[in-house]
């Protein structure tokens, strides 16, 4: 912990975070067309999920608008998109960089891989906020749903939720240092989130045992609070009083701690076995 008190170390960490954020933007610019087509795909996926069964007629859309159901689902869907990126971002990056052969050079950074991964998380989150914010904006315009954006409270809950999700991301990132290709594992987990966290179906409809599992996942509690704030327009004080925020903090802290500890341990194992950077 002592190095956190060393100003030089803190400045170094800030520059590493800057380097990784910059790199995320360079990658975005380089593959801009791919990113835009990804957004179009996301929008089509959303429309498919929620309107395909009813047809795409304006009447169907306006019928759905009459309830809060679509707004609930929209918040769930967009948060799930963030989860999709944060849970698999580190493992994908480690796999790709090991494959192209730059992971070893990155691992030679004095600030360590965990700081490096945080840099990526920050860069990715900023980019996701811009890109998925655009998708959300288009969804709101085209479906005419009503959502509130209490900046401080929703922002805080969103960040706390992301921390838990990145905790899981660290765990998978650590596994990727050793096993490299985790594609199908993270895909199962990420799509499992769509169903199990209540993003499209309220978890109250699940059997009780599944509800228990669902509530332990890193996105569920955050999603519940965001819906309270953004769809049902509940004040933040209500969330504080309900104890939901405390649950979210505990949940995210647990996921993050487990993620960081397992990443550190798996990095050590990778160094022992000579797998750091080897594909």
């Amino acid at each position: 912990m002592s190095r956190w008190w060393n100003p030089d170390w803190v400045i170094n960490v800030i520059y590493v975070l800057y380097a990784e954020t910059l790199r995320e933007f360079i990658t975005l610019r380089r593959y801009f067309l791919e990113s835009i087509s990804g957004l179009v795909m996301v929008y089509i996926l959303f429309m498919g999920f929620f309107f395909a069964s009813q047809g795409f007629s304006p009447q169907a859309i306006s019928l759905t608008n009459n309830s809060d159901d679509l707004a609930h689902r929209t918040v769930g869907f967009v948060l799930w998109l963030f989860a999709l990126n944060s849970v698999g971002h580190f493992s994908n990056a480690i796999r790709d960089e090991s494959h192209i052969g730059v992971m070893e050079q990155i691992a030679l950074g004095p600030s360590g891989l965990i700081v490096d991964m945080w840099g990526r998380a920050i860069g990715k989150t900023i980019i996701d906020c811009l890109m998925l914010g655009l998708v959300l904006f288009i969804i709101i315009i085209t479906t005419r749903i009503s959502l509130s954006f209490p900046f401080f409270s929703a922002g805080l809950v969103f960040l706390l939720t992301l921390l838990g999700l990145y905790g899981l991301g660290f765990f998978f990132g650590g596994l990727a240092l050793i096993y490299k290709r985790l594609g199908s594992v993270t895909v199962v987990v990420r799509f499992g989130f769509l169903i199990l966290t209540g993003a499209i179906t309220p978890i109250e409809n699940f059997p009780e045992w599944l509800q228990v599992i669902s509530k332990t996942l890193p996105m569920t509690e955050g999603l519940k609070i965001l819906r309270l704030l953004m769809v049902e327009n509940r004040p933040f004080i209500y969330v504080l009083g309900s104890g939901d925020l405390l649950l979210l903090i505990v949940n995210s802290a647990l996921y993050l701690s487990i993620g960081l500890i397992s990443f550190k341990y798996l990095e050590k194992v990778a160094r022992e076995r000579g797998l750091l950077g080897v594909y």
Partner: protein
């Protein structure tokens, strides 16, 4: 205090579900002073790259200790990494989908170099390695030599005290290899940096390294000054050009002659290479060659032993 020091450095690998172990590095002790350029030689699979990876903290030794500038790797890894620059063999060492300038910015910041220091050092290195006009070029569009020069620039960007180069001239043309060699010597000597390099181009080691460590099957079989190593394989090296095929059996029968080798040149002349313990033994050799009456001596040249000969003999023995 040594710039690089290893104590009983050992690395064993074993697979996850098997108890079978492979001893790759076996009890290596190295002591390298600040400002020295040391060559690490060994046949393929000798353990050179494993040693380099352990020295830069990418691989944890099974047993033994590593000290860089007096700091122990296991206790002080992040501080040590700030003192090291490495070019790793089989690794891209740079991001090909970014430009030279973007790579420089990215890796410099990862290695805690920023602001004025970064700009000045970056410019100096790009000029020094003749890459200044390639700043905005995508790395993937550069030639192999330029990519390798960029890898070395990135390794030097944090002005490291210890530079570890695993096959820095692999696949380079003569001009680029010479430039890389000159720059390594320049950086090391001007700024008192320590360089440990592995290469299969033994003439580079012979030319620029003050000491040579020879590794075979994970063990250190020699670690001496280059000159000392060459003279320890003492004796008088002779190259004798002959008009016809000599009877080498007669020569091999003489106890004063060592390591007789015979080649034929494109012009049909026979080239006899041999080592004598003393200069005056040459007369006995000439006498013996005359016995066969089949060949005439065309020329006699004395030569120094080459590091390549020493290396091959040590590894074979």
């Amino acid at each position: 205090m040594y710039a690089i020091q290893t104590e009983n450095l050992t690395k064993e690998f074993h697979t996850l579900f098997s108890k079978k172990r492979a001893l790759v590095v076996d009890d290596i002790n190295l002591e390298i002073d600040r400002g020295e350029i040391v060559g690490l030689l060994g046949p393929n699979g000798a353990g050179k790259s494993t040693i380099i990876k352990m020295l830069c903290g990418l691989l944890k030794p099974t047993t033994g200790k590593i000290f860089i500038n007096g700091r122990q790797m296991e206790n002080d890894r992040s501080r040590i990494l700030a003192l090291i620059g490495a070019v790793l063999e089989g690794s891209r060492n740079s991001i090909w989908s970014m430009t030279v300038k973007q790579n420089l910015t990215y890796f410099a910041h990862l290695k805690n170099v920023y602001g004025r220091a970064f700009r000045e050092r970056g410019d100096e290195l790009l000029n020094s390695f003749e890459l200044e006009d390639k700043r905005n070029e995508m790395v993937k569009n550069l030639s192999k030599g330029m990519k390798q020069k960029l890898a070395i620039v990135l390794a030097f960007i944090n002005d490291p005290d210890v530079i570890l180069l695993d096959e820095p001239t692999l696949g380079l043309d003569v001009h680029t290899a010479r430039l890389v060699k000159q720059r390594i010597v320049h950086m090391a000597k001007r700024n008192n940096k320590t360089v440990l390099l592995t290469t299969h181009r033994i003439e580079i080691v012979e030319e620029i390294c003050e000491r040579v460590a020879i590794i075979n099957k994970g063990r250190l079989i020699a670690f001496e000054e280059t000159e000392g190593l060459l003279s320890s394989f003492g004796g008088e090296y002779y190259i004798i050009k002959l008009s016809g095929r000599p009877d080498t059996a007669i020569l091999e029968g003489l106890s004063i002659v060592r390591d007789v080798e015979l080649d034929q040149s494109a012009e049909g002349e026979f080239i006899l290479r041999l080592i004598l313990d003393r200069k005056d033994h040459l007369f006995k050799v000439l006498e013996a060659l005359g016995q066969g009456n089949q060949s005439r001596v065309l020329a006699i040249n004395r030569s120094k032993p080459k590091l390549e000969d020493v290396f091959v003999k040590m590894v074979e023995s």
